[in-house]
């Protein structure tokens, strides 16, 4: 078939290369602009490679974004671990300890991941204030854990339903109770499930913006809020926001490049039914 129409094959590769180039254009622009001296950023040379290279953009951007970066690390790591552990336990119950109304409760739970978060924002804001959690990282972590429960439960439930019931039943006959069954049989098989949820949750939480800007005070702003403020000013020299974008993107891009397969699995989990 390949030999039958060689020109079609050539056209296929040509199209792919052109589209790939278009997809990479924003990254190209970001990198070259980040490496330029502010004085050399102008209309006529926007697409040209920088010379000399101005690596200082990165240290300048990090000087501003450093605290935000650390906040995001703490936030993403804590919220990811907590929501994944809870999701794993929930998924275990939903797949291996089915009860009356199991599917209905699960569907009602899933609803939580599709709502536009504006609909819960005002009560969330008020509740965190009343709990004295407003403005800091613990409140934001709480929000991410609670609203992360639907997706983590979904991923683990689907993952565990692939574990044959015969395996859990034989362990039960051997006298394993709820927790023993989880620790001896389910948990050791869960590593791929945890990888998928860790990656998915970390990326989502790292990238989140709405809660970051409404529920945290300046000192606890995550990286997305820091970047928006860095880029938001009017008289901005473009090398800094571009360097800042790279700093904000590197952790998730690294995860994506190194563990793309698991990232895609999380992506598909959120959209494929059941």
């Amino acid at each position: 078939m390949t030999a039958r129409v060689p020109w079609a094959r050539a056209l296929l590769y040509a199209t792919l290369v052109v589209v790939a180039a278009i997809y990479l254009t924003p990254i190209y622009m970001t990198v070259i602009t980040a490496l330029k001296d502010p004085a050399n950023i102008n209309l006529s040379t926007a697409w040209q490679l920088p010379s000399p290279l101005n690596w200082k953009s990165f240290s300048q951007a990090y000087a501003k974004l450093g605290p935000n970066f650390l906040n995001s690390i703490i936030l993403s790591v804590c919220a990811t671990i907590l929501s994944s552990v809870l999701g794993s336990l929930n998924g275990y119950v939903f797949s291996k300890w089915r009860f009356r109304g199991n599917d209905l409760v699960f569907t009602l739970l899933l609803f939580g991941m599709f709502i536009p978060y504006q609909i819960i924002l005002i009560p969330l804001f008020q509740t965190l204030r009343q709990m004295h959690l407003y403005g800091g990282l613990p409140g934001l972590i709480l929000a991410h854990v609670v609203y992360g429960l639907p997706i983590t439960t979904l991923i683990f439930r689907n993952f565990y339903s692939q574990i044959p019931d015969s395996l859990t039943e034989s362990a039960q006959i051997d006298g394993a109770g709820f927790f023993k069954l989880y620790l001896r049989v389910i948990f050791p098989l869960s590593i791929p499930g945890f990888v998928v949820t860790f990656i998915w949750q970390f990326t989502q939480i790292w990238n989140e913006f709405l809660w970051g800007i409404t529920l945290t005070k300046y000192a606890a702003n995550p990286i997305t809020v820091g970047l928006a403020q860095l880029a938001g000013g009017e008289a901005v020299s473009w090398n800094l926001p571009m360097a800042g974008s790279i700093i904000a993107a590197v952790p998730v891009l690294l995860i994506y490049v190194l563990m793309g397969r698991y990232f895609i699995r999380g992506l598909l989990a959120g959209s494929v039914k059941g």
Binding site: I122, F209, L227, G232
Partner: protein
Amino acid sequence: MHLTRDRIIAFAVLLPSLVLVGVFVYGFIGQTVYISLTDWGRGGAALAENPQMRLIGFDNYKELFTGFLHARFRQDLVNAFFYTVSLVIGALALGLFLAILLDRQPRGEGVFRTLFLYPMSLSFVVTGTIWRWLLAPEGGINVLPAFVGLPTAQFRWISSRDQILTFDWQSLPAITAGLVAAVLVFLSWRAWRAGRLRRAFATLAPAILLILWAIFGQRVVPQMLPIPERHGFNLATIGVILAAIWQFSGYTMALYLAGLRGISEGLHEAARLDGASELQYYLRVAIPILKPITLSAVIILAHISLKMFALIFAMAGPDNASTGHPAVLMYLTTFRGNKFALGAAIAVILFLLVALFIIPYLVSSYREQHRRAS
């Protein structure tokens, strides 16, 4: 014996999550609906921890749809419609195209797949910041024509104030009726072609009624605004739409590619033996099989574009009225203007629009699971 005890433990493990989601999702939605019916933020200490609220009914909603001061909300609603339609169509078409290219199994497929999908891992704020520079009036994209000897483009991507497809807000009910009628006529035509005459008439009748109402029934609609108010498709939103398509076409590609790979090679072979060209195979065989995937993708993309906040915030700034979106306006109204009840009303409208897509999706997915389980 142990089993019953374990069942209780199982439920006890699940319970905290259920309570949390019950309160934080369902309880909070109820609370927001309640707040939207009050006057919180119309005066007094809006930022008090326990603010005074008085129930005033649907006044906030009435204000948003017909109030003189809230033209921006109405334009934002129109924007949200165009954002959604453009993102869904754009990302579906491009994603399907890329998936078909990769389905031809070119060498280096993995590399291309990675390149098409990487924008999906970026945050909206990063995408917005980068594209804001690309589309800056004095920046990137506008200079490109100069490389092939053409004059540089002058389009002011994010700040253009031009509008096309404008209509008067007063005629919105008629336009809606017309659109619904068009869909019904299409469904009726399909039913007629499939030989289901009864169903064809059952869908045609309401369509005719709607068209008649749209043409003759306009005087029944109360005057919503004292003066005509034009709304339409803001050209400034095109930039945001392009960035969003760049970010999400890889996602639809991944969905479609998984679907295409799921079609058995035998079916492809059979189509080939029947003399179908490759194009015919995709149009007649593959795309109809992928219909459930298309449906899922439409729902996911629609709900993403209906809550698109960070991208617009970072790319155009929250105060840019031309690229406005109810999700952004809700933030401005609530957290900058301290008009909490009005912000809650915007949130409820946004929520209802999303629910329109999500609830049927969840109901059908629930039925499917239930069927499989029993």
